[in-house]
């Protein structure tokens, strides 16, 4: 291995660690500002509406199609073994434990994360954050913390909606289209899905994903270079970093929650 390549790898690792450290310090700043941000609860509610309610269309549409695809694919695989009766069970477990939280988080990063980054980045570029500082208003408490909280609240709710639409999609394909018995579909699902180990663990995952995506989105916006190019790069980094971190955390959490 050449010295230049080694130096490049070391610099890459150092840069990655520095980024993680910077996100960690920013998270501490947000946590310290949380009590002050509770005064701005209206802003938090507005952000929950903006990141949550405004993401409903894409989450519902994607949830429906993911469920329909799952229904088709799993019906085909299960029919090989003569086990199509387990369609409801397999679809719901896939959605609750993995696909629901992960796909919702990826969609959330693309829809809400980018808009949070772009909004805060433009506030930085147009001196709105500096103006708040000059009016003795802490932008971390007024801008960053409400969006962070909104991500934590909105993500699990969106994941639940995604799961519901996914199961509905699978039901449409499996029962209404392919002729699987309706009672079999639901009874197998309810008998094999455990609320605590399957549903609640999925909710915990989506809470963690919401926190991570919101933290990355807010951090990228807050620290963006105040130029058009800077905002463009920041929004791209939000999607890239969020996707990688969500999948990595998913692996770690799955290993612990299994």
């Amino acid at each position: 291995m050449s010295a230049q390549l080694r130096r490049g790898i070391v610099a890459g690792i150092a840069d990655g660690l520095a980024r993680i450290g910077a996100h960690g310090l920013f998270l501490l700043q947000i946590l310290a500002a949380l009590p002050a941000s509770l005064r701005h609860y209206r802003e938090t509610v507005r952000q929950i509406w903006f990141t949550g309610a405004m993401s409903l269309v894409i989450i519902m549409t994607c949830g429906l199609f993911v469920g329909m695809v799952l229904g088709l694919q799993l019906y085909y695989v299960l029919s090989i073994f003569g086990g199509t009766a387990a369609l409801g069970t397999v679809v719901s477990l896939s959605l609750y434990r993995e696909l629901g939280p992960v796909v919702t988080a990826l969609l959330f990063a693309g829809r809400a994360g980018t808009s949070i980054t772009a909004e805060i980045g433009l506030m930085r570029a147009t001196d709105q954050l500096a103006a708040m500082e000059m009016m003795a208003v802490d932008p971390i408490a007024y801008v960053a913390a409400p969006r962070f909280l909104a991500g934590i609240v909105a993500m699990p709710l969106l994941a639940c909606v995604f799961n519901a639409l996914g199961i509905f999609g699978a039901h449409l394909v499996g029962v209404s289209w392919l002729g699987l018995d309706n009672g079999t579909f639901w009874s197998n699902m309810t008998s094999s899905v455990d609320v605590w180990t399957d549903v609640i663990n999925g909710v915990w995952k989506s809470v963690a994903f919401g926190a991570v995506v919101a933290l990355i989105a807010v951090f990228q916006g807050y620290t963006t270079a105040p130029t058009s190019e800077g905002v463009a790069y920041a929004t791209t980094r939000t999607v890239v970093f969020s996707s990688i971190v969500v999948l990595a955390i998913d692996f770690v959490m799955t290993a612990f929650l299994m």
Partner: protein
């Protein structure tokens, strides 16, 4: 306000090299200077947005350079700051922009907030625009809304960062009149940084000329206009070259083009001869 021995270095460039300022209470003081001389950086130092490398800044007896974030915020509650680009909150309408500092710091009944905001908007002539969004305003109107927001809590000090940039003559006159009127009626201290001497001369009591990292001249506008120093003559006369050079510092021009014999990238004598021969042999268009 008193500034002593201010020194700031950004990268390899020295922005301030021992700047001293005395800002009299209740007057309009202008800080002028060529682009890039550090006028906005000076305002950032005065408000604690950026700490200098050395020197002291005393406002109302407090040294801004040593204040904690909490103490800085308490000081800023008594300071109004007009940003060059107005920096209005784009999610809010004019009324909410002006009401923003009140809502954040005081728990007042809605009726009182409404009255205070409308009073300030009336002072800047925009009471009728209270319901408009920031994106619906012209540059001059945005500047006036930002001014109403800056004075909403009756500050002791107002800082104006390039308040005349991009304004048409009507808006310029409106802003000039507002600065003078607000200063006289509210009894505040005003500091403005600007390039436009004709505008500054109409409103300022005292002018500091900042160039080359130092204060090179100061005094009342009329006295400064007649000052014989090369700095003031170049700045107020609008001369393209002088103590503030036309050329950004660079290495030797001939060497940059590769003509100096001692430059490493300069072509050898033989190569120059060959190039000249080639050029002579080429057909003219």
């Amino acid at each position: 306000m008193q500034v002593r021995g201010l020194r700031t270095v950004l990268g390899r460039k020295t922005i301030f090299d021992g700047v001293d300022l005395d800002i009299p209470r209740g007057k309009v003081t202008a800080v002028m200077g060529p682009s890039g001389c550090g006028k906005t950086t000076l305002l950032r130092h005065l408000t604690g947005q950026r700490r200098p490398d050395a020197g002291s800044i005393r406002i109302d007896g407090m040294d801004v350079t040593g204040l904690s974030r909490q103490a800085l915020f308490e000081l800023r509650e008594r300071i109004g700051y007009l940003f060059q680009n107005s920096a209005l909150l784009t999610d809010y309408d004019v009324f909410e922009n002006v009401a923003f500092p009140l809502r954040q710091h005081l728990r007042l009944p809605e009726e009182i907030i409404r009255n205070i905001v409308l009073t300030k908007l009336e002072a800047v002539g925009l009471r009728g625009a209270a319901g408009l969004m920031a994106s619906e305003l012209s540059g001059g109107m945005m500047r006036r809304v930002a001014l109403a927001r800056a004075i909403i809590r009756d500050p002791m000090l107002i800082l104006y960062d390039e308040p005349f940039v991009g304004l048409d003559p009507i808006a310029l006159n409106q802003v000039l009149r507002l600065i003078r009127t607000l200063n006289d009626t509210l009894g505040v201290t005003s500091i403005l940084v600007a390039h436009e001497f004709s505008a500054v001369a109409r409103v300022a009591d005292l002018v500091y000329l900042l160039a080359g990292g130092k204060i090179v001249a100061h005094g009342p506008p009329q006295a400064l206009r007649d000052d014989p120093s090369p700095w003031t003559r170049q700045f107020f006369g609008g001369e393209a070259d002088g103590p503030v050079p036309f050329q950004y510092p660079a290495r030797d021009y001939a060497a940059d083009l590769g003509f100096a014999a001692d430059h490493p990238s300069a072509p050898s004598a033989a190569a120059r001869q060959a190039a000249a021969t080639t050029r002579a042999a080429e057909p003219r268009a």
